[in-house]
């Protein structure tokens, strides 16, 4: 192609047009985004946002969505670790029930699990006198414990399977070195096996957390007031159909963005060499 390319020519001539193309494209995309935002701000109906009642509801909904996500991810992972370990290294009488649990959770819709717990346990409990008289009753009477339970079990089922692979994926030599140095078994688990398994699983776990976030609207079906329930309420009250959904999308994207950033930070704490 080039008759007599000097090094400086080959370096500058090659990538420059591509970069120019991408730069132009990026500017165009940014302009389109700005235009879209401008259009939606000016020509859509956002008047309901000024209503203090809806503002309070939206805050409460966003808060509920967030804490339900955080609590169920944490509790779910705490269950997933023993579930994964039992399958990766446990005796058959631990591995078999763990595998069955993960299979059951992964094989049925979350909505079904949620309703079975809420309508099943939720109607069973009131018929048992000692539960109704216990101090826990004011809590068990509400919907959120069933939402938290269902989501926690769901996270446990999926992440239990993920952790099984993660535990198995830690190279044998890493554990053998620890054994050879006289580490007690639980110390090996706590200091070597678990941290390395979690580190392997972080990229997957970030994605799973986003997926769990997007599963949280199901709790609205059992009367928990999350951000989705609030947007539905506003739509019913005001007959504004489209704008609350847009706001909902923005809220979920914002939370998902925070999750992605958080996991990227966690992943970068231990430098990895990809080679």
């Amino acid at each position: 192609m080039q008759a007599n390319p000097t090094p400086s020519q080959t370096v500058s001539a090659g990538p420059a047009p591509v970069q120019g193309f991408w730069a132009t494209r990026r500017i165009v995309l940014a302009l389109i985004a700005v235009a879209l935002v401008g259009w939606s701000v000016t020509s859509l109906n956002w008047s309901w946002l000024a209503n203090p009642k809806y503002q309070a509801l939206l805050l409460q909904g966003a808060w509920n969505t967030t804490w339900i996500l955080v609590v169920t991810m944490v509790l779910g992972m705490l269950l997933a670790i023993p579930l994964g370990l039992a399958q990766a290294a446990g005796p058959w009488w631990l591995a078999a029930p763990a595998r069955a649990f993960c299979g059951l959770i992964r094989g049925t819709p979350l909505l079904l699990q949620l309703w079975l717990l809420y309508y099943g346990l939720g109607s069973l409990f009131p018929s048992i006198p000692w539960i109704r008289e216990s101090d826990l009753w004011p809590i068990l009477r509400q919907a959120w414990p069933y939402a938290v339970l269902a989501l926690t079990l769901s996270v446990a089922g999926y992440e239990g399977e993920v952790m099984r692979g993660a535990f198995k994926g830690v190279p044998h030599g890493q554990l053998e070195a620890a054994r050879a140095m006289g580490m007690p078994r639980f110390t090996i688990f706590r200091r070597i096996w678990l941290p390395q398994a979690l580190q392997r699983v972080l990229p997957t776990l970030g994605g799973e957390t986003v997926l769990t976030l997007k599963a949280t609207p199901l709790v609205a079906t059992i009367t928990v007031v999350d951000i989705y329930a609030v947007s539905s309420r506003i739509r019913q009250d005001t007959f504004v159909v489209y704008e609350p959904l847009l706001l909902l999308a923005v809220v979920y994207m914002a939370i998902a963005g925070v999750i992605v950033l958080l996991f990227r930070w966690l992943e970068n704490r231990v430098p990895q060499r990809t080679a």
Partner: protein, 257 residues
């Protein structure tokens, strides 16, 4: 046994060790005694059982039968060979520094963290004491600059030197080397052998499984030639390498020369 330091106390004794994997009889009754300061080299072809023999000493492989005794203390075993006293085994393992063919530094920790992990979190040594000791050892193996590096960013030779320092950081009574240079590029073998030689020169008790015959002859006080799970011949290095008796050893030495 014809070891050099008969007057010094016994460090490691293996007696009539058998090991089978299923129906495959890998070790058919081998014995070894290392006194303090001895450097015992185990040589032999692949499949001769030399790594298995070494790994039985700290029970990374469970012997099928036999006796392992460290500094005069026999490791408690069930009749099937498995260790019966976990606490005792952990304590004994802490007194044996093991170096692997594939280094096995913990990848999620820096070099310094690798060194102080067991001293601090298992042996309950104060952290600053352990760090101090670790830094001295790193300087000794030529890795003073690398204490904050993660293993994945180091060459094989550097990783193996760090792994040796990690084993030394437990202040073990003896060192076990399992083919420490076999996974290294040829140009990195020398730096690791030099570190091991330094340990031998300062009188550390070591058992060394190796393919480096020249090195074995240079550092060992006693050499064991293993063939098909049995000790075919053993003796001082000059005798074993200089005037081998058995035909198998003669042939082996010719094949690796």
């Amino acid at each position: 046994m014809a070891n050099g330091n008969q007057q010094s106390p016994e460090a490691i004794r293996v007696a009539d060790l058998h090991k089978s994997f299923g129906t495959h009889h890998v070790l058919k009754g081998v014995s070894l005694t290392a006194h303090e300061g001895d450097v015992v080299a185990i040589i032999g072809g692949s499949g001769s059982g030399k790594s298995t023999m070494l790994r039985c000493i700290n029970f990374l492989e469970t012997p099928s039968s036999g006796l392992i005794s460290i500094a005069g203390e026999a490791v408690a075993m069930h009749p099937d060979g498995s260790p019966s006293d976990r606490k005792q085994l952990e304590r004994i393992r802490q007194s044996l520094g093991m170096v692997f063919q594939s280094f096995n530094l913990w990848t999620h920790r820096t070099v310094l963290e690798n060194l102080i992990e067991v001293p601090v979190h298992v042996m309950k040594c104060p952290r600053d004491v352990a760090i101090d000791r670790a830094r001295k050892l790193l300087a000794r193996v030529g890795l003073a600059e690398k204490e904050d590096a993660y293993p994945a960013f180091m060459s094989g030779g550097q990783q193996q030197r760090a792994a040796i320092a990690r084993a030394l950081c437990m202040e073990p009574k003896a060192m076990l080397f399992d083919e420490p240079t076999s996974a290294l590029d040829p140009e990195l073998v020398g730096e690791v052998l030099q570190v091991i030689k330094g340990l031998a020169d300062e009188g550390r008790t070591m058992i060394l499984v190796t393919h480096e015959m020249k090195f074995a002859r240079e550092v060992a006080s006693h050499v064991i030639y293993l063939h098909n799970g049995l000790i075919e011949e053993q003796g001082p290095p000059d005798q074993l390498f200089g005037a081998p008796q058995s035909d198998r050893l003669k042939q082996f030495l010719k094949s690796v020369a």
